[in-house]
């Protein structure tokens, strides 16, 4: 942390939220709060693009301070929500490419340069995300499965020998394994059904039971990128899945629509842009082919 640019009394860093093509509405920006400790949201012009940023105090946001704060759950949450507010504020007029939480630059100039040097890629992403939203779908094993099975050996009053016990135990284990296999298969079926209405899908790691607060494991944690034109069909498919009872071994939860965070990225190593301008199959025709559907669809 050195060489901060000349600024007001307290040294500030520039926290960047998102890239847009059209500048967000000024009044909307003014009404939004990014990080509570920082200044108002503002827009930097970077080539043909806009970058929504906020000045934040270096004392709180330099590497050390931030690392320490983000290790505190309460601060991590506040920071994540502040970031989300900044991204939302940028979103008002057209697509946005969200930057990762806590993307910090030493000054406006470096922030602008970072964007202009990747303008083609960002442009392609903006095209790809336009008129699309993200939906978070999580599939859990149904809560009843194993527990119900566990209580079911009760009719075995006559069978009290060790062998009977072992066979009951192994039968229970088999039941559990069967149930798990069924749930997995159903989760995959749900995913396959939903992909029919999505432009792309990305699997996040399933969240732990501690995070979800459920006893049943999370089997799938998928983000779908859905065209606005397909949204109704997508949500209808979700409702159908929940209602028609064809997937009794799983429970499907959804949140959305989200700004398409999970699809605002290029794969693997972003630093390759330095020379290769990212993946050839993707950026070459970024202007002509905004619908490269394969991009995020991996699992």
């Amino acid at each position: 942390m050195s060489g901060l640019p000349a600024g007001p009394a307290a040294p500030a860093l520039v926290c960047a939220f998102a890239v847009t093509r059209t500048p967000p509405d000024a009044a909307a920006l003014a009404a939004a709060t990014g990080h509570e400790e920082g200044g108002p949201l503002r827009v930097l012009r970077a080539g043909g693009l806009c970058l929504v940023v906020q000045d934040v105090p270096a004392a709180l946001f330099d590497q050390e301070a931030l690392a320490e704060r983000l290790n505190r759950p309460g601060d991590l949450e506040r920071c994540a929500r502040a970031h989300h507010r900044g991204v939302e504020a940028a979103h008002g007029r057209g697509p946005v490419v969200p930057l990762p939480m806590a993307t910090l630059y030493r000054g406006d100039r470096t922030a602008e340069r970072a964007v202009t040097s990747r303008e083609a890629v960002l442009d392609a992403l903006l095209d790809r995300l336009r008129d699309r939203t993200e939906w978070a779908v999580k599939v859990h094993a149904a809560e009843h499965g194993p527990d119900a099975a566990a209580g079911s050996g009760s009719g075995a009053g006559a069978d009290t020998g060790g062998r009977a016990y072992l066979s009951r135990a192994s039968a229970r284990r088999r039941d559990r394994e069967d149930a798990h296999g069924r749930a997995l298969a159903e989760a995959e079926a749900v995913d396959a059904e939903l992909r029919r209405y999505a432009v792309a899908a990305v699997r996040h790691r399933p969240q732990s039971e501690r995070l979800t607060g459920r006893r049943a494991p999370q089997l799938l944690n998928v983000a779908y990128l859905v065209d606005d034109a397909e949204r109704v069909r997508f949500t209808r498919a979700l409702a159908r899945i929940a209602a028609d009872g064809r997937h009794p071994a799983v429970e499907v939860g959804v949140s959305g629509p989200w700004i398409p965070y999970s699809f605002a990225r290029w794969d693997e190593d972003p630093d390759r842009t330095g020379q290769g301008r990212t993946d050839p199959d993707r950026t070459e025709q970024d202007r002509t082919d905004p619908d490269r559907t394969g991009q995020g669809a991996r699992s």
């Binding site: 860093l13 890239v19 509405d25 590497q63 931030l66 690392a67 983000l70 290790n71 505190r72 991590l76 994540a80 929500r81 970031h83 989300h84 507010r85 939302e88 979103h91 008002g92 490419v97 969200p98 930057l99 990762p100 939480m101 806590a102 993307t103 910090l104 630059y105 030493r106 922030a111 340069r113 970072a114 040097s117 992403l125 993200e134 990305v202 699997r203 996040h204 790691r205 969240q207 732990s208 501690r210 979800t212 983000a223 949204r231 949500t235 409702a239 929940a242 949140s255 959305g256 629509p257 989200w258 700004i259 965070y261 999970s262 699809f263 605002a264 990225r265 290029w266 972003p270 842009t273």
Partner: protein, 82 residues
């Protein structure tokens, strides 16, 4: 905080959640963390600070989780969220 965005024309991209399908109740934190930590374009070339790097994120998640239950390892033990 993150209620429906009155500025957005058309359907506002407000995350919904809940047992009641599609009932808006604000932004679910776990889903939000999946998103803000795992994703976004890393424009790292001119970054002064390495905040966006994975190691920090991993530390944070550890902290988050240990507050929930310290015996439990992070759900993204090594590579961070995908």
């Amino acid at each position: 905080m993150t209620g429906p965005d009155p500025r957005t024309p058309g359907p506002a991209p407000v995350p919904w959640d809940g047992p009641e399908p599609y009932a808006p109740i604000g932004v679910p934190l776990v889903d939000l963390l999946d998103r803000v930590l795992a994703t976004g374009v890393v424009v790292s070339g001119d970054l002064v600070l390495a905040i966006a790097d994975v190691p920090l994120v991993r530390i944070s998640l550890h902290a988050l989780l240990s507050s929930v239950n310290e015996r439990v390892p992070a759900p993204w033990p090594d590579s961070g969220p995908l």
